[in-house]
């Protein structure tokens, strides 16, 4: 990690693992990653990777690729073959929410928003509000990446039993501008397998 003392944010290079379907992996290799959008992401819109930290990032991505293949609404698999894509990530302005300074900043900006009078409506959960605050801040401050630890359900039982523990089990990086931050020539498929293997 390179720390630029003249810049309050962190320049950061790392490797990330992304679990997905085989067809998505082929598209990624040709066209690079496409930021996913939606209102239920942990750190807002972007491309999500597991990074070595709390647990084995490659295993996390494999597990994710497998559990994500199951469509619980339609009760069938969305795809048969999963892949893990490895990428080199080069960020200029990372907001590191695993560091003391990153967490202190988040707590301080909560105070700023409170002072400004921004409050969540009853229809918005506390978690969703926090996620939106993170994304709002990243948009306004032009961060190109975010890093945080979460608990993510990576096995069938966790999802089936709707486990919601508060202790994180993975380290996640969200890349907001993959075209600029992920060199496509260093994107590789490192694992390929059947979702029915386990």
């Amino acid at each position: 990690m390179l720390k630029d003392e003249s810049n309050p944010l962190v320049r950061y290079s790392t490797e990330g693992y992304h679990g997905t379907s085989q067809s998505c992996a082929l598209s990624i290799k040709k066209h690079n990653f496409n930021p996913s959008r939606g209102d239920d992401h942990w750190l807002g819109a972007g491309v999500y990777f597991f990074e070595a930290g709390i647990s084995d990032a490659l295993e996390n991505a494999k597990d994710w690729g497998i559990v994500e293949s199951w469509d619980n609404t339609k009760r069938k698999y969305k795809y048969e073959i999963y892949c893990v894509v490895k990428a080199v990530i080069e960020l200029e302005r990372l907001w590191d929410l695993t560091s003391r300074e990153g967490l202190e900043f988040f707590e301080r900006l909560r105070g700023v928003l409170r002072k400004r009078g921004v409050e969540r409506s009853d229809s918005c959960s506390g978690r969703k509000f926090d996620n939106s605050v993170v994304e709002f801040t990243a948009n306004q401050m032009k961060f190109d990446g975010l890093k945080c630890c979460f608990f993510i359900k990576l096995d069938k039982n966790s999802r089936k039993n709707r486990v919601l523990p508060g202790i994180p089990n993975v380290t996640v990086i969200c890349v907001r501008d993959p075209e600029r931050c992920i060199p496509i020539d260093k994107v590789k498929v490192v694992v390929e397998g059947s979702v029915n293997r386990r």
Binding site: L9, E101, F105, L113, K115, G117, R120, S121
Partner: protein, 82 residues
Amino acid sequence: MNVEALVQKFERIVFSMSDQELVEEFAGMGCDVKIAPPSGDGWTKIGCVTEDCQYSTRPSLTRTPVSSMSYAADSNELALAA
């Protein structure tokens, strides 16, 4: 990471946005927010060092005439004369 600089920059941005802009920004992320009137100016009165000041809210603060305040030459800090 210089937290203070980031906070100040963020504060400037947030306070330059209108209520509607803030609501729309969050709505774009699928989050409904409301904007309450700001509660106070964020500053707490701690008293005054001018003579016969009637606004001191800290009993322990020594009231000293402004004329007897001096700067410490070596540390460049404000020193209140006893």
